[in-house]
């Protein structure tokens, strides 16, 4: 399978998950009085879940533009972290123009799948990877905006778990192979649970993710620094790299 097709294949579960999530955004958009076209346009130009829901509320409530900017920066700030991480894993085919173009498609899920490859990401692969999620996100919004609440609650509720299931499928298998990742994940989860339930201050989920990611990754970097091999990056530089990447190939090839 060439890398473009491989990307499309890997994007399939993301696209299906997005179909479900953006469906509810579509319902909400027209429910708030936007036209179908306007609702779809938001999804096509933003490609982000939490940011869009927050942005929609500000639009409808006629909030200030400053409020809009600040909310988007705060909620979406985690993408900056992902972009920095991704910038180190892409190969030389990612010129500045390509980066400016593909920067739009750095979503939680695309980032997650791309960075779990354990090898340099080529632009053909990345392009393929973005296609189905983008279609899914747009189409789901359109269907939701047109049809309103047609899915039975039991189905739409079940679909809410799809993307989380996919996340689990990405971060759990490496935990079996590398103690470092297990520690990082457990630190991150404990902190995330603490931030969610602590009564002291209000915190958005976007900011919470950043705090957890930075703290847990620093713990990982301090206690489990990667081997210093200049040409390798990501997981390949970890001790158990070989077994991991072999296994990943098998999983992606299923």
């Amino acid at each position: 399978m060439n890398s473009f097709k491989k990307g499309i294949f890997d994007g399939l579960p993301i696209g299906l998950g997005y179909l479900a999530v953006s469906f509810s955004f579509g319902i909400m958009g027209t429910g708030y009085g936007l036209t179908v076209w306007q609702t779809v346009l938001i999804s096509m130009t933003n490609v982000t879940s939490a940011g869009q829901f927050a942005g929609l509320n500000i639009m409808v409530g006629m909030g200030s533009y400053i409020e809009m900017i600040v909310s988007q920066l705060v909620i979406n700030s985690r993408y900056s972290l992902m972009s920095v991480s991704l910038s180190q894993s892409v190969d030389k085919s990612f010129t500045t123009k390509i980066r400016l173009l593909f920067g739009q498609f750095v979503t939680d899920e695309i980032y997650a799948v791309a960075s779990s490859r354990g090898e340099d990401i080529g632009r053909r692969y990345f392009f393929g990877l973005c296609i189905l999620p983008y279609i899914g996100w747009t189409l789901g919004t359109l269907l939701g905006a047109i049809s309103g609440d047609i899915l039975p609650a039991s189905v739409s509720t079940a679909l809410n778990v799809a993307l989380y299931g996919m996340f689990i499928a990405i971060f759990v298998p490496p935990m079996k192979k590398a103690l470092s990742i297990t520690v990082v994940v457990l630190v991150s989860i404990c902190l995330s649970v603490f931030l969610y339930f602590q009564p002291f201050f209000e915190i958005s989920s976007g900011v919470s993710v950043i705090i957890c990611a930075v703290v847990a990754s620093v713990v990982g970097a301090v206690f489990f620094p990667i081997k210093d091999e200049a040409d390798k990056n990501g997981l390949d530089a970890l001790n158990s790299a070989d077994t991991l990447s072999e296994e990943r190939e098998v999983r992606h090839g299923e």
Binding site: S77, S80, F94, G103, V161, K176, I189, G220, A221, R251
Partner: protein, 100 residues
């Protein structure tokens, strides 16, 4: 909503885009620092686990069905099933338990 919509849309889309694109372009060289490279190696796992827990438990409106979905995903992931298999069966598990 008339023209204001398009101004809101532009403000929203541009801020979201810049948050993603600027770091992607700014860090186009390989970072040399071993510490930073180690840190970035761990970021994906830290990000994904923090986004999943505890949020998944509140994603279905029922702690029971969400927990069943979580456990299903965990077991299948430990068995190295593919992304789509894990996602599909955790949804199916939530759906089935939700019927009762």
């Amino acid at each position: 909503m008339g023209n204001e919509f398009y101004i809101y849309l532009a403000v929203m889309a541009v801020s979201t885009y810049l948050v993603r694109a600027i770091p992607f372009v700014a860090f186009s060289r390989k970072i040399r620092s071993r510490f930073v490279r180690s840190l970035l190696t761990y970021v994906p796992y830290a990000v994904l686990s923090a986004m999943t827990v505890p949020a998944i438990f509140f994603s279905t409106g029922s702690l029971l069905t969400a927990s069943v979905g979580f456990v299903t995903a965990l077991v299948l992931s430990l068995a190295n099933r593919s992304l789509i298999t894990v996602a599909f069966f955790s949804c199916l598990a939530v759906f089935i338990v939700g019927l009762f």
